[in-house]
């Protein structure tokens, strides 16, 4: 694996089990991840899709499960749906969920992104917002404003 393009860390007053659930269950993700579901059975080798909660035909990101150790570690390939079978277009996302005192340290690493790609610029804006909204949701019961609704995509 090449060096990560991004490493994000957030400390959440929660448990590893709840953080895992919040990343893998649609009823949670829809609230802080702009009305999306991460759909998979989360078994190693299985496909996963980042799809609209209300219309599963709208898939923004797709890939495969590379590692799955609930509730501590999840590794996914990450690409546009049409690029799932093109290894050179696959980036990789690693979630590490570790107990930290009475809280949880969630580390997200995103590697193998194509330099200068729209994916790279998109995720560099997206992850901080998604992760701080996830933290806010787990700690207060409400996500950050504006992170629950599907965003209309700007023209390419």
């Amino acid at each position: 694996m090449s060096k990560p393009s991004f490493v994000y860390v957030t400390y959440i007053e929660s448990t590893p089990e709840k953080v895992w659930q919040a990343l893998t269950e649609g009823t949670f993700t829809r609230r802080y991840w702009v009305n999306h579901r991460n759909a998979s059975d989360w078994q190693v080798g299985s496909p996963w899709r980042h799809e609209d909660f209300d219309d599963a035909s709208l898939v923004d990101i797709a890939g495969h499960v590379v590692e799955s150790v609930p509730p501590h570690r999840l590794v996914l390939t990450w690409s546009l749906p049409q690029d799932v079978d093109k290894p050179d277009k696959n980036s990789r996302v690693t979630f590490d969920i570790e107990p930290y005192g009475g809280a949880v340290r969630l580390t997200v690493r995103h590697s193998d992104l194509e330099p200068g790609s729209a994916m790279l610029s998109g995720i560099s804006r997206g992850w901080p917002l998604v992760l701080s909204s996830l933290k806010t949701l787990l700690e207060t019961g409400e996500p950050l404003p504006g992170t629950s609704e599907r965003m209309t995509r700007p023209p390419e």
Binding site: V7, T10, T107, L131, L144, P145
Partner: protein, 104 residues
Amino acid sequence: MDAIFRALADASRRQLLDRLHANNGQSLGELCEGLAMTRQAVAKHLAILEGANLVASARRGREKLHYINPVPINEIAERWIGKYERHRLKALSELKRALEGSDE
């Protein structure tokens, strides 16, 4: 939050964040290049930034790479800016309802 502001209240540390923002994932050696600071001073500033969770690190072999971590900055923005954004959105949805003539 105090740790974040303390960490940001120093021009050298802001300069280190600028350098990571321009080129993410640098080793201590790379970050020291072209800076008028000793390696020891840079290491100390990085430790303070890491303590405030403004810098995250990843190991690659023997190297420790440093990454800017904007997640806490997002939380600061939300504390003082989010509220106004919420009001603006509420005002917009009220305007929309009024224009569409719906009672709901």
